[in-house]
């Protein structure tokens, strides 16, 4: 299943890149979002949902195709389980890059779909983190799919709502995270 997913994503990347052109960096835009991250599977069993701060950047390659990047920082406390004392808190840093498709539904509403390759860095803290060892930071890749909605009221700065799902390719049992968020877009 993983292989199929990778092949599909890679094919999409290759096809999309086929239409790329030289990048005009003066059209670079940012979004800043507050998010709520919900870990799934093993990650969700032992760690709680947590708040997050996200920063997104995108630049058009050839409309509606955009080159995009993201950085999300979230904190996750340990769930109430019998193992709680042996599990450290996690700060999760997601750094992603990939492609976005952004469409104008009307003059004030735009929708987007983003596919990112994401590097997830797990920073463990507290007494349970790596007893006897000095390095309590680990990272792993995942693929995220994000749906977004941008509303330009003309009065307020453009507002962004988003929802994403990211399977993370960790070892014994793959995990995932779901996130939703609201923010502003700076163009």
């Amino acid at each position: 299943m993983r292989a199929i997913l990778r092949a599909i994503i890679l094919s999409g990347v290759l096809l999309n890149v086929t239409y790329s052109q030289e990048i005009d960096w003066s059209l670079l835009s940012f979004s800043v979002t507050g998010q709520w991250i919900a870990p799934q599977k093993e990650f969700g069993t032992y760690w709680n949902n947590g708040p997050a701060l996200g920063v997104y950047a995108d630049v058009p390659v050839r409309c509606p195709l955009f080159l995009s990047a993201s950085g999300i920082l979230s904190a996750h406390s340990v769930s109430e389980t019998p193992r709680k004392s042996r599990i450290p808190h996690v700060v999760l840093v997601q750094l992603g890059g990939g492609l976005s498709l952004l469409y104008d539904l009307s003059a004030s509403v735009h929708v987007g779909l983003t596919a990112h390759l994401v590097n997830n860095t797990f920073i463990f803290s507290g007494p349970a983190a790596r007893p006897g060892f000095e390095n309590a930071v680990e990272s792993e890749f995942g693929f995220s799919l994000t749906a977004s909605l941008v509303w330009k009221s003309g009065v307020l700065p453009p507002l962004v709502a988003l929802a994403s799902y990211q399977p993370i390719l960790v070892g014994l049992e793959p995990v995932a995270i779901v996130s939703v968020g609201l923010g502003v877009r700076i163009e």
Partner: protein, 637 residues
């Protein structure tokens, strides 16, 4: 003339690799370029300190010297760890990475196992700041499970830490200079279920220490405005790594520094070039469970001269000469690797005759040297190339190249202790050198036809008195579960070795090209009998290119790692020492990002290695490779 200094033997008749000029800085290290684009083999238990064999005329336990930097040999490798990445050179400087996969003579060396030639770019006349960086990871780490499941260890797995290089160059009057610094960090210990051996060595002191290299290079050139140039190249490479050492019988965590200092004068007189070089390495291995540490130092200080004469009528001769002092030293009480120092003075003299006619070129070369052991060595080569048309070339290459045993092969020692539960005692397993080793000689030839789209090569060689390690006892220990052996080096009887290489390349369109390469090798168990590679690259837009490489090879056999069931203290099943066949798919996308703020010439690359996550192993023990994602950036200011 200095461009001719030693470069001659790479000329026609030898398979060459031009490793995608322009994208070299968007790769990891030299070994990755070579491994991705040619049929050489990488021998590494930890993947990230790879040893290269240019197709089989050297072997893992006794590799021959194979690297030249700017047409001068680099000889000071730690403990026979012959790798182009264990040199004072950095890929960001590379103009080319060329691979000669057959025995070859150059003005400054004889290479029975082939040659990796690293050449740096010309320093531009204006200020240039340049750099490259990369990082990535294999997937599948048990990051969370370490805390949520019992019995899983804490360790760093297969990651590429933030790595890269940067430099600055400029011209000041008659001087040009370039300063370069680089750092590479690799965590590579495999996975608990598949790669238990190296994990068993990891302790708190080495847990967070990656395999790493830090490199610094200074280049300075003065020219007199005519033909004479004085060139200085100084470089060092500080390293630390976990690796299965070729000379040892087990893993070791070792560190040290190697470096080179070279001063060459081009056209001292119209026919004469002179160069002085000093290559040196110091190394120490730390103690770990049941194995004493050790240290050693070695150096080569050499004077090279080349006199070249054009005799007219397309005939020229060259007279290369080398005088070298080779020193090996160890601290008193050293019990590993070498127990006493060895010094030797060697010399080499050569003669080259070249005749370049319209449709036919001929090069004949002879090299006589006094080897490290004091014995005279004699090597020779003959290359004849005929070009019946502008689009085809037929080449015949004959060579006979001799090499001395190295000090480690002659006088080395390495011991480790393992508890044998069946015997109820500790056993000491020892690798010993052999002072009676004779020089090895590789003799043979190759016929190559090269057309516009097709190349076919047939090669056959005999290796006389090949120097290899012969294990006398091989065990898999109960703890830590590694394969350890006793043995000594020996000269083997004559062995024939040959094969066929076929390559086909086609330009599908003006934007797309594709190629297939197949190699069949006969009578060499450590090489795959079948090896195939298919690749395609398309320039999808002016600033974007994508490529796919499919690479596969049949199984290989490593007798030094075959364990009988009765000697398997861990599982009792034994192992056959066979590395299974594998094939992989790698994908690359390269995007030119143009100018971003003040950074010019920004290029990015995304590399997906082993895309289908097939289990891949290049060495009988050590880590396997998984699907990996690596990102690259390079820039020029």
């Amino acid at each position: 003339m200095i461009r001719r200094f030693i470069v001659t033997a790479i000329f026609f008749g030898c398979a060459q690799l031009h490793a995608q000029p322009g994208y070299l800085s968007l790769d990891q290290r030299v070994t990755d370029v070579v491994g991705r684009t040619s049929s050489v083999q990488l021998f590494s238990a930890t993947r990230y300190m790879p040893i290269v064999s240019p197709r089989g005329l050297a072997n893992w336990s006794a590799p021959a010297n194979i690297v030249e930097i700017n047409n001068m040999p680099f000889e000071a490798f730690p403990l026979n760890l012959v790798s182009p990445d264990y040199t004072p050179f950095e890929l960001v400087l590379a103009e080319s990475v060329e691979v000669v996969r057959r025995p070859v003579l150059t003005y400054a060396g004889a290479y029975p196992a082939g040659l990796l030639s690293l050449g740096s770019t010309t320093i531009p006349d204006s200020l240039l700041v340049f750099g490259r960086m990369y990082g990535g990871s294999e997937t599948g780490d048990i990051i969370l499970d370490e805390y949520t499941k019992d019995g899983l260890p804490f360790y760093n797995r297969n990651k590429i830490g933030f790595s890269g290089a940067a430099g600055i160059s400029n011209r000041l009057g008659r001087f040009t200079y370039r300063l370069t610094a680089a750092g590479f960090n690799y965590f590579s210990v495999g996975y608990k279920d598949r790669d238990p051996i190296i994990l068993s060595y990891i302790d708190a002191a080495t847990f967070s220490r990656p395999n790493r290299n830090y490199i610094g290079i200074a280049e300075l050139i003065w020219d007199d405005g005519n033909e004479m140039k004085v060139m200085f190249y100084g470089g060092m490479n500080s390293f630390a790594a976990w690796e299965q050492l070729p000379f040892a019988s087990t893993f070791g965590f070792f560190s040290g520094t190697l470096g080179t200092t070279r001063l060459s004068i081009q056209n001292v007189m119209s026919f004469l070039s002179v160069a002085i070089r000093r290559d040196a390495v110091s190394l120490s291995m730390r103690n770990h469970a049941n194995t004493d540490g050790g240290s050693s130092k070695s150096s080569v200080t050499a004077l090279h001269t080349v006199a070249s004469f054009d005799l007219g009528r397309s005939v020229s001769i060259a007279l290369p000469f080398e005088y070298a002092v080779r020193e090996f030293s160890v601290p008193s009480g050293n019990r590993q690797f070498l127990t006493s120092g060895e010094n030797s003075t060697t010399w080499a003299a050569g003669f080259e005759l070249r005749m370049d006619f319209e449709d036919c070129r001929t090069q004949a070369m002879v090299r006589s040297e006094r080897g490290f052991t004091g014995k005279r060595l004699l090597s020779g080569s003959l290359v004849v190339a005929v070009e019946p048309s502008e689009r085809s070339r037929l080449e015949l290459s004959l060579s006979s190249v001799e090499r001395s045993p190295t000090p480690l092969e002659r006088s080395g020692i390495f011991s480790t202790i393992r508890y044998r539960p069946v015997l109820g005692r500790n056993d000491t397993l020892t690798i010993l050198g052999n002072r009676t080793l004779r020089p090895a000689r590789t003799t043979g030839g190759e016929i190559t036809y090269s057309g516009v789209q097709t190349s076919i090569a047939v090669f056959a060689f005999a290796i006389d008195a090949e120097i290899r390690r012969r294990p006398v006892e091989i065990i898999r220990s109960a703890s830590p579960g590694d394969v350890v052996f006793s043995g000594s080096y020996e000269n083997r009887r004559r062995r024939m070795f040959g094969g066929v290489e076929v390559g086909f390349h086609v330009d599908v369109s003006d934007r797309t090209d594709a190629g297939i390469q197949y190699v069949w090798t006969q009578n060499h168990s450590q090489l795959p009998r079948h090896q195939a590679r298919a690749s395609g690259t398309t320039k999808v837009m002016e600033h974007t290119s994508a490529s796919v490489v499919i690479h596969g090879m049949s199984r290989t056999h490593w007798p030094e790692f075959a364990v009988l069931p009765g000697q398997d203290d861990l599982a009792g099943t034994g192992s056959d020492g066979i590395v299974p066949e594998f094939w992989t798919i790698d994908c690359v996308i390269v995007q030119s990002l143009g100018k971003v703020w003040f950074i010019r010439g920004l290029e990015a690359k995304l590399e997906l290695q082993n895309l289908l996550n097939r289990e891949l192993q290049t060495f009988p023990i050590g880590v396997t490779r998984d699907f990996a994602v690596i990102g690259y950036l390079s820039f020029k200011l």
